[in-house]
């Protein structure tokens, strides 16, 4: 399992900019209906079971890091993620405020209060980024 986690970290996640990008990536490997993680590359190198366990463990680790990260870091990371997402900033902020996609990125067995803390921090970070965005044309 350790080897699978290291592989995931050094090959796939290392290319991503920050924990928010990593959280979204790992959450996207999880089946909406079963909650099982799937990663072809990892399954090919290890076994399906090991790949799933490594993804689940990493998911928890990254989520925990984000829950305990200062709000200032969340704002910076979200800004960086938005920058690298390829979407227009205004569209990104509008969509994230409207449908709150970050709520489905949390590990299934997380503490409900930790989930709420994370969602609240992202919500406030989005509001700060939106204010900055609105100030740009005037400056």
């Amino acid at each position: 399992m350790e080897a699978a986690m290291q592989d995931l970290e050094s090959r796939t996640l290392a290319e991503m900019s920050g924990s928010i990008a990593q959280l979204i990536y790992i959450a996207s490997t999880r089946d909406y209906n079963t909650g099982q993680y799937n990663h072809d590359g990892l399954t090919f190198c290890f076994t399906e079971e090991v790949a799933r366990t490594a993804l689940a463990a990493h998911h928890k680790k990254i989520f925990r890091e984000l829950v305990f990260a200062p709000l200032e870091d969340i704002v910076q990371q979200l800004d960086r993620y938005m920058e690298t997402s390829g979407a227009l900033r205004a569209d990104f902020l509008e969509l994230w405020k409207k449908i709150e996609p970050y709520r489905v990125t949390v590990p299934a067995d997380s503490d409900p209060i930790a989930m709420e803390l994370f969602a609240s921090n992202v919500k406030v970070a989005l509001a700060i980024l939106q204010t900055r965005q609105e100030m740009v044309p005037h400056s």
């Binding site: 305990f68 709000l71 200032e72 503490d111 209060i113 803390l117 609240s120 921090n121 919500k123 204010t131």
Partner: protein, 193 residues
């Protein structure tokens, strides 16, 4: 008004004395390794206390320092409202779970384990202090917000840990037959008396 102040002062004075006394006679110091064993034993019977680290995170003031310097009044208001609600949720969850620990101790453990009067006394005292500080904390959070009560939160969380330790340490290393009996009694009748 004068009468109200008089009783308020007496109340606060008594509370301070009880806190001071409880702090000094809180019993054996908690061994970190032993506490995690106790937490593990409680997890098996679904009696987890909310994470103290999460409490620390919610009540930490660095986020407020950042927000008050970098965000509009409206965002500040939203942030304070959300953090206040989270703080109350964490506190209520701690209160509920401490109550369950006491309930567990009263029902499941008492029937199977020989009582230790000094432990029972300490547990009862800690529970009273916990309930008092819980009420004070709720009032302070509602009045002033969550960022000015960190020390009291740490203290309350410490009492919760102490209670969990006092009640749960008898589970660690217990004869598996007795432990099995305690578990089944708890699972079969966790709420009703």
């Amino acid at each position: 008004m004068g009468e109200f102040l008089f009783f308020l002062l007496i109340g606060l004075g008594s509370l301070s004395l009880v806190l001071l006394w409880a702090g000094r006679s809180a019993g054996p110091s908690i061994d970190g390794r032993r506490l995690s064993e106790v937490r593990e034993a409680f997890t098996v019977i679904e009696l987890e206390l909310p994470s103290g680290a999460l409490g620390e995170r919610i009540f930490a003031s660095h986020d407020w320092d950042f927000i008050s310097a970098n965000a509009s009044r409206e965002i500040q208001r939203t942030f304070l409202q959300e953090r206040k609600s989270l703080a109350m949720s964490w506190l209520r969850q701690t209160r509920t779970n401490v109550g369950r620990v006491m309930e567990f101790h009263r029902k499941a453990v008492r029937g199977c384990v020989r009582l230790n009067p000094s432990l029972e006394l300490r547990l009862a005292l800690n529970y009273i202090v916990f309930l008092l500080t819980y009420e004070v904390l709720c009032a302070l959070i509602l009045l002033r917000g969550p960022f000015w009560v960190r020390e009291l939160v740490r203290y309350t969380s410490g009492i919760a840990d102490q209670m969990s330790y006092l009640s749960g340490h008898i589970l660690v290393g217990m004869d598996p037959t007795v432990l099995g009996r305690i578990k089944s009694r708890w699972y079969n009748n966790p709420v009703a008396s």
